[in-house]
Amino acid sequence: MALTSYGVAIREGFEHLLSYHPKVFTIGQGLWSPWYVGNTMTDLEQQFGKARVIDTPVSELATTGAALGAALCGYRPIVIHPRVDFMLLAVDQLVTQAAKWRYMFGGDVAVPLTVRAIINRGGEQGAQHSQALHSWFAHIPGLRVVMPASARDARDLLIASVLCDDPVLYVDDRWLYGIEEEIGPPVELDLAWEGPKLTRSGGDLTLVGAGHSAWLCSEAARALAEDGVSCDVIDVRVLNPFDATLILDSVKRTGRLLAVDGDWATCGFAAEILARVAEEVPPSLLRAPSRRLTLPDAPAPTSGPLERSYYTTVGDVIAAARQIAGVRGDSWE
């Protein structure tokens, strides 16, 4: 069977939605451009028309609000923010309006709005073109937050997000666009039943991450296995509402937790993972203090050497995992 890349899988998700769901449309910046959102929406406007694939002025707040308005009137819009950084101008509509709308109006109003934000960083783009901030949005009750780490999830969780009657923030990461797998035909999942997944089993250590960090965890776990360190790897997939059950069960077994996250540490998603474990796993079951691996406490630098040390690598995950598991170099401590 053919392999599909994460980037192409996103496009398949759009194609499925626009083909089979007449109330779906997409709106945002760069939709009529060949390069703005990588290869994830190429030529959609030609396939489905510019009335359903709408490129917009540089107006993040109004665009997001307009999509919310259409969602309240029976449509299932997908807003595109080519960078998380730009979406920060739309926080009011996302957080104070969309996330609270159902609740403020009694609980029965559907808000089938999907906001897609792309993490787009590296390449010396600097502090204003590098933010992730999924932790912020996972903090907000009423807003579902999805971060796919595999090509299949990139497609099927997009579809699930759009078919969900709650507002969803769907965050994909350019660093994943090239990964490939067999993904079969599209599936329409109910997002309410989706959550973290165990993507690898092992007894020494629990590795947890979302999006690109889940990929780092998998890659590290593969290398660690060759060294005799076996890991549970959990791909979070849905950050809010966050169901930690799988993580708790795993850590109860392994006694060791490493949370990897591509956001900052303080009040970040890795902190949430550690907090859940601290609350729910009896200290007596822990064989080591939990640990997180996140961005350093600084904005993104541009200078090449600084930028290379800024982002977490597979090597960093391996080193931290070894340390927690009590392995030094190639021998046990």
């Binding site: 002025p57 707040l61 665009t63 609000g65 919310l68 308005g69 509509q93 104070t96 509402p241």
Partner: protein, 347 residues
């Protein structure tokens, strides 16, 4: 369409006190409009009293003095249109025909409220009559209404969206972003700015270089008219014309309705001690009373007299009292609604 940057006589509280000029034809809606305005005033007055009495705790922003705007605009709306308001939206809700009891229940936080007690005065919804939501973040429903207009255009049935907001909201960037979006995509959204000259304690002269906001619509290439917002006939005829055109040919339109609120920014007091010129102006502005001016015109035309007005007032008072009494009896939302209303139920 060119429109001057200043309000001219409309900003002068000593003018426009005379009885309204009635239309020659199609006057049958006017007694109903009078009643609706009396209803809004009476209901809001009651709410104000209940705030003072400590029975209502949520913040209530009263539109007393501004009744003609919502009543005039609503005349040409239909239930499939999509209307959005802001923090001062009891009038928008009642003008569309919203249930009195559900309003009273909402400000009391009852499960029978318009928003099932989850929103209070600043969050009203009434899908049956087209009211899609009102919220207090200034300017925030302007893009939402714009998107509702996009949906209406996609539906292709001639429905429109209405965005009510105040002069203060024109200082939020999103107002401009929304107008540009509506103009570029040619969306059938009717922007209705109730310019009551104040944003909270600040007169518009302290917040903007000119006192009329229709100039912004012109800049965004959106046709605009300015009307005496205390003249329900003028408002209705401007809205009529705009809406008819929008239903035929989707595109935005802007109405600036100049008016004045009689009460303070929030609650029943009148804020006489607050802001520039308010104390002196208020007395004079009361003479531009939208209810009285319509009533006097109807009386001159032989369509009303003091007895008929009194009857309306008495009936409305009873309606309000009855709705209140019912709402007071109504139950609060059950405790589990604290958490059960956040997300939709999984299928």
């Amino acid at each position: 369409m060119e429109i001057s940057a200043d309000l001219g006589t409309l900003a002068d509280s000593r003018q426009h006190h005379a009885p309204l000029e009635l239309p020659k034809q199609n006057r049958s809606w006017l007694p109903g409009a009078l009643r609706r305005m009396v209803l809004i005033r009476t209901a809001e007055d009651h709410i104000g009293q209940m705030v003072t009495a400590g029975k209502i705790r949520c913040p209530c922003h009263l539109a007393i003095g501004q009744e003609a705007v919502a009543v005039g605009v609503s005349k040409s709306l239909r239930p499939t249109d999509r209307i959005f308001g802001a923090h001062r939206s009891h009038s928008h809700y009642l003008a569309l025909g919203g249930s009195l009891r559900a309003l009273m229940a909402e400000v009391l936080g009852k499960d029978t409220g318009a928003s099932r007690g989850m929103g209070g005065s600043m969050h009203l919804i009434d899908l049956e009559h087209g009211l899609r939501g009102t919220v207090p973040i200034v300017g925030s429903t302007i893009p939402i209404a714009t998107g509702a207009a996009l949906a209406a255009k996609m539906d292709g049935k001639g429905d429109i969206a209405v965005s009510y907001f105040g002069d203060g909201a024109t200082e939020e960037g999103v107002f401009h972003e929304s107008m540009n979006l509506a103009a570029t995509l040619r969306l059938p959204v009717l922007f209705v700015c109730e310019n009551n000259l104040f944003s909270s304690h600040l007169h518009i002269s302290l917040r903007q270089p000119r006192d009329s906001v229709a100039r912004y619509a012109t800049a965004h290439d959106i046709p605009a008219v300015r009307v005496d917002g205390n003249d329900v006939v003028a408002v209705a005829s401007a809205a009529d014309e705009a809406i008819e055109r929008m239903r035929r040919e989707p595109g935005p339109f802007f109405i600036e309705a100049v008016t004045y609120r009689w009460r303070g920014h929030v609650g029943p007091r009148d804020d006489e001690d607050v802001g520039v010129r308010r104390k002196d102006d208020l007395v004079v502005w009361r003479k531009r009373d939208p209810v009285q001016r319509l009533y006097e015109a109807l009386r001159e035309a032989g369509d009303a007299d003091s007895a008929s007005l009194e009857l309306i007032e008495r009936e409305v008072l009873a309606e309000v009292a009855f709705a209140w009494a019912q709402a007071e009896q109504d139950p609060f939302p059950p405790p589990e609604s604290l958490l059960s209303r956040v997300y939709g139920r999984p299928s």
